[in-house]
């Protein structure tokens, strides 16, 4: 292999590593919530250039915060089986470079957002701040309640999208954000139950290790129910057609059924089912909000 070829291969590997550090699926889902929030506003504006700007700025800000999270958590990620192969924890990428890339994406993403609309930029920045500073740096290693702040951060993209569409924060935007915030424990708590040993090895406090499995399952069930209620109220507030509200109601019914099952007949399979179903639920909810 020539030096030029070797250089190309190295560059391709690096791009692959950095792409994986952005957690494309998770970032994609958060971006989808942002787009749904924007499209839920419908009036007074709806323009393709704005949507493209929203997509790029939000994705860069989310990717920047995700990379910075992984840079900060590289020591605990190395202790957990689930995360020890990440490029940051396995030393495949230079840690100083990761920090620079994370900061660069953040500056471009948040800066772009502020340039588009100052209030939108502020909400995007709030999401970044809650995720990187409050959740990762300050609370993650201290208290299991850190996930609330992680959840608030995850709820910011949908609020940001709606703010960009409306030019203001309204109760529907807050309700949409609440829906996402309450949906997030279904994911994070299921993970913390499934990988309890990993988190214990890394000394990261979690709900299961602090309050036990039963309380964690009850929290998942309650938050799923409240998430469904928040999404239906938001859908009604947006003026969603009755047919779509019916569909949202049906899907919420499925979520309630699984929440009921996880509380009274808990098992690994039900946990997994709720985890996956909740993802489908959120994706379909976002599509319904956008139509």
């Amino acid at each position: 292999m020539t030096i030029a070829q070797s250089s190309i291969v190295n560059r391709q590997s690096k791009i692959k590593y950095y792409w994986s550090l952005t957690k494309p699926l998770q970032s994609g889902l958060l971006l989808a919530t942002g787009l749904a929030g924007y499209m839920s506003a419908r009036c007074p504006i709806f323009s393709i250039p704005t949507m493209i700007g929203l997509s790029i700025s939000l994705f860069l800000a989310i990717a920047g915060s995700t990379i910075l999270n992984m840079w900060w958590d590289r020591d605990i990620d190395a202790k957990m089986g689930r995360t020890q192969k990440r490029a940051t924890s396995s030393g495949l990428v230079d840690e100083n470079e990761v920090l620079r890339v994370g900061l660069l994406l953040t500056v471009i993403g948040v800066g772009w957002a502020v340039a588009m609309d100052s209030l939108y930029g502020l909400v995007v920045f709030a999401g970044w701040f809650f995720d990187v500073v409050v959740y990762s740096i300050w609370l993650k290693r201290r208290t299991c309640w850190s996930i609330v702040w992680g959840g608030i951060s995850g709820a910011m993209p949908i609020l940001a999208g709606r703010v960009l569409g409306l030019g203001a924060i309204d109760w529907i935007g807050v309700m949409l954000a609440l829906g996402v915030l309450l949906w997030i424990p279904t994911h994070t708590l299921t993970f913390s139950m499934k990988f309890a040993k990993d988190y214990a090895a890394a000394c990261v406090p979690t709900f299961p290790s602090t309050y036990g499995l039963e309380a964690t399952r009850a929290t998942i069930a309650i938050s799923s129910v409240l998430a469904a209620i928040a999404m239906i109220i938001a859908g009604y507030g947006i003026g969603m057609e009755w047919g779509f509200l019916r569909l949202l109601g049906v899907l919420s019914g499925g979520l309630l059924m699984l929440a009921f099952a996880i509380t009274f007949k808990p098992s690994e399979r039900v946990n997994f089912g709720l985890f996956k179903y909740a993802s489908v639920y959120m994706l379909v909810s976002m599509i319904l909000l956008s139509i």
Partner: protein, 202 residues
């Protein structure tokens, strides 16, 4: 048995069709049929998603018998409400009573063959209603000929239900592999028939 990609695609299409029916296919109907069809197609939609997530193992759950009763019962109740005005109340009582009977005989152990007999009666009445009513109405000219597709869907749901019931009873009429192989096809064709049939009006 591992689910094939084709089976997943068919279940996904079934879910999309059911979602369409819930969101758009029943607009303009009376309140009771809208509720009945929303429940029926809603259960079909959620069941399709859970089958994709969990695979065929979910069919081993005892709750499947109760949940799968909801689909024919609610569809039959909606059809009767729309087409047989004189039987509305009595059929609605029969629907609710039938569902409660199936649930009770499954949740609380009943002696002998009572649970099976109750299940057969409830499924039989609902299944025959879905199968015969649209076909008879189409033949009589009271409905568009395509409405008879709802009856075809009823026949398919009956076939699928029978095959599954025998399988769960330990006396499969076909091999388990074959039943699980054709189940997604039956579910998809059944839902397609319902959606097209209802599209031509009740």
């Amino acid at each position: 048995m591992k689910m094939s990609p084709l089976a997943r695609i068919l279940l996904l299409l079934t879910g999309i069709l059911a979602a369409y029916q819930v969101s758009s296919g029943i607009d303009g109907f009376d309140t009771v049929p809208i509720i009945a069809y929303t429940i029926g197609f809603g259960v079909l939609l959620v069941a399709g998603i859970l089958l994709i997530i969990w695979g065929f193992e979910v069919l081993d759950s005892p709750a499947v018998v109760i949940i799968s009763t909801i689909i024919p019962l609610s569809l039959a109740a909606g059809l009767v409400w729309q087409n047989l005005a004189s039987l509305r109340t009595s059929y609605l009582i029969l629907t609710i009573g039938g569902f409660l009977a199936v649930t009770l005989t499954r949740v609380r152990p009943a002696p002998g063959k009572i649970p099976t007999i109750v299940l057969a009666i409830v499924h039989g009445i609902a299944g025959m209603t879905i199968f015969l009513l649209p076909i008879v109405f189409s033949i009589q000219g009271n409905a568009h000929p395509m409405f008879s597709l709802v009856g075809v869907g009823g026949a398919l749901i009956g076939l699928g239900g029978l095959a599954l019931s025998f399988l769960k009873a330990g006396k499969p009429i076909l091999s388990k592999e074959l039943i699980l192989k054709i189940l997604p096809v039956i579910l998809f064709l059944m839902t397609l028939c319902f959606v097209v049939g209802f599209g031509y009006g009740a």
